[in-house]
């Protein structure tokens, strides 16, 4: 299994990262959210620390070389900081967060991540608070602008992710100036399109991804294993299953086996035209 995965990665059929959907719960309700995450969601579908740690350990043994944690917002979970630290002890980890929940208490609990292989990837869509907040929620810009320097001061690596919908070139340039002013390099700024799935599809936003636009990267959720992190989308409260690979996520080997059968049909050297990652 390890050889098969490494070959598939080497041939460009899939990525080397295992994604974990920590929870579908979120304190924001972004207009383009893939998963209809929001406050007060009834079915939070959290994976739980034990399952995530076991999946990460299995992933390392099976040949994955890095992890991604997404959601929902992982910092809605009580033990998010400790879970992230534990995952980072297993494999290099990037954690997607909206950056709005970093109280002093949480910042202190995150201090063990200083200088580690964990990066926090914070979403920021515009250097203009009004435009950013229209997409992401009230006071989002101000909270992110406070959180990023606070994390960097503690030696925690921060990346910025921008989801592009209607921003102008000038606006994106000024956003780059902003992240550079924080000391975040262009290499740590990810710009990608809104994917027309989930709430974005209902809002008539984003680009329709073609079959070759998104690199397959095995993605675990409480609903099962999916082909990539843009797959387990939700519409009207119902999870899309068209890109479900396996209902079984534990042990990870079962999901990886089925994932490899799907990516075997990917052309060698698959590239991703829209950088949707």
């Amino acid at each position: 299994m390890r050889d098969a995965l490494e070959n598939a990665v080497a041939e460009g059929r899939c990525g080397n990262r295992l994604w974990l959907y920590a929870t579908y719960h979120c304190n924001l309700a972004c207009v383009y959210c893939l998963t209809e995450s929001r406050p007060g969601i009834a079915n939070r579908r959290a994976l739980g620390r034990e399952i995530m740690v076991r999946a990460a350990t299995d992933a390392r043994d099976l040949g994955f070389t890095c992890l991604g944690v997404t959601g929902g917002e992982i910092f809605m979970l009580q033990d998010a900081a400790e879970t992230i630290a534990e995952l980072g002890g297993i494999l290099p980890t990037v954690v997607l967060t909206n950056g709005t929940l970093f109280t002093e208490r949480i910042l202190t609990r995150l201090e063990p991540l200083a200088g580690s292989v964990v990066a926090l990837q914070i979403s920021l869509d515009s250097p203009e608070a009004s435009h950013n907040d229209a997409l992401r929620g009230p006071e989002n810009f101000a909270r992110v602008a406070t959180a990023v320097p606070a994390l960097l001061e503690r030696g925690i690596r921060v990346r910025i992710a921008t989801t592009v919908e209607d921003q102008t070139e000038d606006e994106l340039s000024r956003l780059c100036e902003l992240h550079r002013s924080w000391g975040i390099s262009d290499d740590d700024h990810l710009v990608r399109s809104v994917v027309r799935r989930g709430r974005a599809a209902l809002e008539d936003m984003g680009v329709e991804p073609g079959p070759m636009d998104i690199l397959p990267e095995l993605t675990l959720t409480a609903d099962g294993a999916f082909l990539h992190p843009f797959a387990p989308t939700v519409r009207h409260g119902v999870t899309d299953l068209d890109l479900l690979v396996s209902r079984q996520i534990n042990p990870l080997e079962a999901a990886v086996s089925r994932f490899l059968r799907v990516v075997a049909d990917q052309p060698v050297g698959t590239d991703v035209a829209r950088n949707i990652r």
Partner: protein, 171 residues
């Protein structure tokens, strides 16, 4: 209304799409099972082996399926298998007995013994006695009786599933 989503082909998980016909159609039962693609990998070959012709001929098998479905009052399986039984050559009078529309006394000894086996197997397997087994083995081999018994169990599985989830009967 179904209590589980009936997936169209383009909504179905990647590994489940092979159960749909080229035109995208599939029975409501299969469309519901597509929600659990991992199980399909073993369930469909298993059901295929049990329901397809094996050591027992198809008309006899369909008679058994109809009788079990009648006992369990499964609307879906009766709607699917009663016409199929006729199509596969099960005599109409035998099907009528299985559906309680004619008395069991009108059946030949072989079919009568088989349906008695079905009734006891479904209601209470403890009620099966050596006499019934001996009468059955006058008409079927022991491996055929095993095959029929597993068919009863598989039919019960689907009866319970379709009834509990209110899977709508096929047109």
């Amino acid at each position: 209304m179904s209590r589980v989503r009936l997936l169209e082909r383009d909504e179905a998980p990647v590994h489940a799409r092979s159960i749909y016909a080229a035109d995208g159609s599939a029975s409501p039962l299969k469309r519901s099972l597509a929600n659990a693609p991992d199980l399909l990998e073993t369930l469909l070959p298993f059901l295929g082996q049990i329901f397809d012709e094996g050591a027992v001929d198809l008309p006899t098998k369909e008679l058994v399926v109809v009788r079990v479905s009648q006992l369990n009052a499964c609307r879906y399986c009766l709607a699917a298998h009663r016409p199929l039984a006729l199509e596969l050559g099960t005599p109409a009078e035998h099907i009528a007995v299985a559906c309680n529309e004619l008395p069991a006394s009108s059946l030949p000894a072989r079919e009568g013994a088989i349906l008695e086996w079905v009734d006891r197997y479904v209601a209470d397997p403890h009620s099966i006695d050596d006499d019934l087994v001996a009468r059955l083995l006058d008409h079927v081999r022991d491996d055929q009786l095993i095959e029929l018994s597993l068919l009863i169990g598989a039919t019960q599985l689907l009866n319970q599933y379709c009834t509990a989830f209110q899977v709508p009967p096929p047109n």
